[in-house]
């Protein structure tokens, strides 16, 4: 398909549905919109998932940060980005009742397929499955009348589906944390190359460090003890922090040159 053909019409929507977009879950899910389909004004990204092995498409930095946060959560087991509401009769009805105009694609009369930023599947400790719908918006855009209207349509739809819906703005997502997660998550992508036994050993050693010593010194120390290169130990440390085995304060910029005492969260 040509890359810069962003014109929408009924036929294109039919084609997308036929392609199976918006269907499936976990590895099989295909987002309604990919990075290629949108003349994005923000910074798009394709991110390989650490939990689910597929590429995620985010259409702005804010979406990316939200995604990183969701993925890091223990409760969330599946993330479906750019989730389409294919039942346009329903959204049209809602718009009608609320007295708003249903959104249409630019320069057409085609009704837009309303797309939710993230549909999340969460599982709590008791094993209960709940679905959450989350829209990501910069808080500055919430003063805009039309934006609010569209959000209200979304909200009404999911309320009727019995799904908890809400907006998340940049104020709810600590930037520093998101950036730290971005730096740490790589280790999870490649950790399969390191065997679990070694990770376990390194973890044990990290837990028995003198709280006064610098974190980076411990890395060198452990490398020497187990005859593993520093890079690898560092990678494992990243992995352990990302997986909450070692609880370092992630709300400040990662700094392994400080002591354990300063870095650890009680």
């Amino acid at each position: 398909m040509p890359r810069y053909n962003y014109k929408w019409n009924e036929e294109k929507i039919r084609r997308y549905i036929k392609e199976g977009r918006g269907k499936g879950e976990f590895e099989q899910y295909q987002p309604w919109l990919t990075v290629r389909d949108v003349p994005s004004t923000g910074r798009v990204a394709r991110i390989p998932g650490t939990k689910i092995n597929r590429i995620y498409h985010t259409l702005s930095d804010l979406e990316r940060n939200a995604f990183l946060l969701f993925e890091w959560s223990d409760k969330i087991i599946d993330i479906r980005e750019q989730y389409p509401i294919l039942n346009r009769d329903k959204t049209a009805e809602i718009a009608d009742i609320l007295g708003f105009k249903h959104p249409v694609y630019p320069n057409t009369k085609t009704k837009t397929v309303v797309t939710l930023d993230f549909l999340l599947t969460a599982r709590d400790k008791s094993g209960k499955i709940t679905t959450y719908a989350r829209s990501i918006k910069p808080s500055s855009e919430l003063t805009d009348e039309r934006t609010i209207q569209k959000l209200l349509i979304e909200r009404q739809y999911f309320m009727q589906e019995g799904i908890n819906w809400a907006v998340i703005t940049e104020k709810e997502i600590p930037k520093v944390l998101a950036n730290n997660l971005y730096d740490l998550r790589d280790s999870s992508l490649y950790i399969s190359e390191i065997d679990q036994q070694l990770i376990h050993e390194i973890n044990e050693l990290f837990l028995n460090q003198n709280p006064e010593s610098k974190i980076i010194d411990s890395v060198v120390e452990i490398g020497r003890e187990l005859y593993v290169s520093h890079e690898k130990v560092l990678k494992v440390l990243h992995y352990l922090v990302y997986n909450k085995k070692i609880r370092i304060n992630l709300n400040e910029k990662l700094n392994f040159h400080q002591s354990w005492k300063k870095g650890l969260v009680d």
Binding site: S73, T130, T131, T143, M159
Partner: protein, 517 residues
């Protein structure tokens, strides 16, 4: 250009004690037949580091590690190979004495049949990493490759020529490399004349045969013969036939080298070529753990430590080294070298069992299956691993498979919401008296069973109005509030705060993170 300027060796002739070799300048010009011990001394390159090297700073010592690639210790197999090669070389020249009238005429006259040829050829097969190529190159390096014979012989003698089988098994590429190789040696332009793509393979072969005669090639060494297997069709046969022709009709000894997978080729096609060759074929398998030669190699190698502290070789380390390398020399050298690298990296500056284990486990991951096959001692398994396993990071990544989770995707029970519930959802933001509203909605629904949701809702709203409820339109609450706030100062902050209170904005930490971070 003068011969001296071309760096070519001018032949000097040694008197021969063996009758067949006497009076044959091509043989007399070769170095004298060496005793085994002198061969060993010539080839031995085992002492790599001096005390001075060990005292260098770390960064310099890293560079010294590269010297391991030159490590070479002759073993009895090397001496065996040398002996066979020197016999092979000379036997090929017996029938090509320039002072022999018939042999000389046969260069120009096709009618003269030199059927007195009794050339031999043999082959060398072995596991990868046993140093086949390294050994043959060292042995060949004992002979000068080109000898210049002045009058009366007037000939450039090429003592040996080593070609690598092209990786795609193409015969044409092999022929071209033959011409190129000769051009590099003696500055001719054969590859331009015969080695261009317009020349057919059969023509090239003819030219090769001719050149082999003119330049009296002593022995033709073809390495990586297993590449012939990679090409389908008859080219394997064609190539093997070519080697046989070379050996039988021209009298040029050939030495074929390949991994174990080449066994099938050699057994199938060379049967007629090796009529009881007498030289036999060499097969180099990995060392057994109790092999004295293996011990010797380990011990010699072990002396080459570049770390600050010298670690003595214990029986325990010896045992481990065999286990991790299964008697493959190349893997042994690499393991030893990587271990030292790691030791310097970590600043330990000595070696021990645990370190060797860790390095082998991590850095030799890719040869692990091969080692496993050797341990199993199953030839079929081993043949699978004839070429070094490629580094395939992608495969590792694709092995990360998410664990399939069986969950109900959308909590389906929540989906089929009654009309009643839907209407109640719409009315929710109005903060009505719940009990009263429910009654009204239910009755409206009952009366208008076939109406659409919107119609029912209108009726409900009008009913509620009649009930003197303080009613706003449905969209009001949040929407109007925002429109109002948007006109004020600090609108974004105020709206943000209001939306949090209205549960329109929700904090992901409360929802998904629990209390811990």
């Amino acid at each position: 250009m003068k011969i001296e300027e071309q760096n070519l060796t001018v032949a000097t002739y040694f008197k021969q004690d063996i009758k067949e070799y006497e009076g044959n300048p091509f043989i007399e010009a070769l170095p004298e037949i060496k005793s085994q011990s002198s061969v060993y001394d010539t080839l031995n390159k085992t002492i790599l580091f001096t005390d001075l090297d060990r005292s260098l700073p770390l960064e310099h010592r890293y560079h010294l590690i590269l010297r391991f690639s030159t490590f070479f210790q002759p073993i009895s197999a090397t001496l065996d190979l040398e002996r066979k090669l020197s016999m092979l070389l000379r036997s090929g020249y017996i029938s090509r004495n320039p002072y022999n009238k018939i042999a000389n005429l046969s260069l120009y006259d096709r009618n003269i049949n030199t059927s007195t040829v009794f050339t031999k050829s043999f082959s060398l097969m072995g596991f990868p990493g046993m140093g086949k190529s390294r050994n043959i190159e060292s042995v060949l390096s004992m002979y000068s490759q080109v000898l210049v014979h002045r009058s009366p012989v007037n000939r450039l003698q090429i003592v040996w020529l080593k070609l690598n089988c092209p990786h795609d098994g193409s015969l044409k590429t092999l022929c071209i490399s033959f011409f190129k190789e000769i051009d590099n040696l003696i500055g001719t332009d054969y590859s331009y004349k015969f080695g261009n793509n317009r020349v057919s393979v059969s023509a090239m072969v003819t030219h090769m045969a001719h050149l082999s005669k003119i330049h009296v090639i002593g022995v033709l060494v073809i390495d990586e013969i297993q590449h012939l297997l990679s090409k389908r069709g008859g080219s394997t046969e064609q190539m093997m036939n070519f080697f046989v022709t070379l050996t039988n009709s021209i009298g040029i000894p050939t030495l074929l080298i390949g991994t174990m997978s080449a066994k099938s080729i050699l057994q199938k096609d060379l049967r007629q070529a090796r009529r009881s060759s007498g030289l036999g074929d060499l097969v180099w398998e990995n060392f057994n753990s109790d092999d004295e030669e293996w011990d010797a190699i380990v011990e010699t190698l072990w002396q080459n430590q570049i770390t600050r502290e010298y670690t003595p070789l214990t029986p325990q380390i010896k045992k481990l080294l065999y286990e991790e390398t299964q008697g493959i020399i190349d893997i042994l050298i690499k393991l030893f070298w990587l271990t030292q690298c790691r030791s310097m990296e970590l600043g330990i500056e000595k070696l021990n069992v645990k370190l060797i284990k860790a390095v082998s486990h991590e850095d030799l991951k890719l040869v692990k299956p091969f080692i496993g096959a050797l341990k199993s001692n199953n030839e079929k398994e081993i043949i699978k691993y004839n070429d070094i396993l490629p580094l395939d990071i992608k495969e590792y990544i694709s092995n990360r498979k998410g664990k399939p989770l069986k969950i109900i995707s959308e909590a389906k029970g929540q989906k089929n919401i009654s009309k009643f519930q839907e209407i109640m959802n719409y009315l929710q933001p109005l903060n009505l008296d719940l009990y009263k509203t429910e009654i009204i909605v239910k009755s409206c629904l009952y009366e208008n069973k076939n109406a659409t949701l919107a119609e029912v809702l209108k009726i409900v709203v009008s009913e509620l109005m009649e009930n003197k409820q303080p009613i706003k339109t449905i969209k009001t609450v949040i929407y109007t509030e925002i429109l109002k706030l948007a006109k004020e100062e600090d609108a974004p902050e105020k709206i943000h705060k209001y939306l949090i209170d209205a549960k329109f904005i929700s904090n992901p930490f409360d929802d998904f993170m629990g209390d811990k971070l």
